[in-house]
Amino acid sequence: MTLLRELFDSLRNFVATVGAVALFFGRLLVQLPRALLRPRLVIEQIYNAGALSLVIIMTCGLFVGMVLGLQGYDLLQRFGSEDALGTGAALALIKELGPVVTALLFAGRAGTALASEIGLMRATDQLAALEMMAVDPVRRVVAPRFLGGLIAVPLLTMIFIAIGIFGVQLIGVQQLGVDAAAFWSQMRSSVDVDDVMEGLIKGFVFGTACSLIAVYEGYTAIPTPEGVGRATTRTVVISAVLTLLLDYMLTAVMLS
């Protein structure tokens, strides 16, 4: 009986949280056009979310690509089709690894920074001070940060994929001796512009989701040191789960 009650309560809490996030998203969307009127604020956030994540994205992209090169080669040579390495690795990077790993890295690097920054602004009364100065904090603080993430993630995804393909090529062609011409031509003949668009769309969706979670967690953080700490942790966990869940749903839709 109590178990049922607890189950019901947590379900109700979950639904209420989803509703709260959706309402917050709506409030955010209403403010987006006005936030765009202040491009300088958005540029600063693209810098924070994108330019500062560049090194980690490029490093990880390179290593993911190199691992793909090794594993892909090992797998394909069993069928005597090493030449398909370019195709396989490129499709894996473009459609799955690029968008997903970039989103996870973004959540860890920029998402936590966003959540703790906004949470600290809440804790130090900066958000209340904005409201007292008749400035909507959602417009002035949240919207530019959300937009920055939204713009940065697809670009980071593309950079990740390009570097990843370079990494595959580095291992496959330079080291393991896959024929360079076969590598590139097979890749070209079987990868489509639509595939790249699929990766780009995923990047946009994941960027939206991860940025939204980060700013929401920061904005609603309990204004204490523990509260802000918890908000950052929740940002990473929820972003990761949501990214993978959305990835499954998007893939299912796109492949059907």
Partner: protein, 278 residues
Amino acid sequence: MAPDQQTQHASPEPAAGAIIEIRDVHYSVGGRAIFSGLNLSIPRGRVTAIMGPSGTGKTTLLRLITGQIKPDRGQILFDGIDVSHLRPRELFALRRRMGMLFQNGALLTDLSVFENVAFPLREHTKLPEPLIRHIVLTKLQAVGLRGAAQLMPAELSGGMARRVALARAMATDPDVLIYDEPFTGLDPISMGMIVRLVRQMNRALGITSLVVSHDVEELGHLADMGFIIAGGKVAAQGTFSELRQTDSQIVNQFVNGLPDGPVPFHYPAPSYFEQLLA
């Protein structure tokens, strides 16, 4: 609640010259009543202190006055306008007439001192840059921090941050300035500076000041009159000499800083004797 509490209700009619009127406000959080029938009126152009023991909802009162939260019942009038029934747009318009100084200044950490003071001007006006510069430097000069204009908030001491916040609150020339615990954590010199500034703002510009604090000593130097809040109601009101002579026990305990009284020294517990023997 003290049985001999002599609650002095403010008159229900708008007091002459009152800029903020609070009428029979009830507010509770999670079933716990913070205010039950609070009445007070803040006179225009004066320095008014709101005092009370910790946890009596002083900060909550400020949030009610500024419309950040809404009362369960009752009216909060700012210059005749009921704050609790405004739409967000109207509330924002009203807030431009209030300036608020938060406990730790609440400066925007990513902007310099100059930009912090310029912030409300840039957000709400389309003034040309030279004029904004002129206003900002004037306000900073008034709080003695013109030389710190290019510093970042992280480089300021607590007292300096509060002075910058005061300059920022002044930037749009509000009718009312609200100070939330302006003295906590300050050394005597900074405290003296804040006291001087608050009085200057009030005397020179005729700004109504509302100071919330539990620092009776400092407020005695500063405020024209005070309210003591306890038990969700106004426990006493009047000038400081009047307050000191109130026969209410709780007011007496608070004003004179007695360790035991209606606010007990001991947290509620079962009998000490019984617990030791058990």
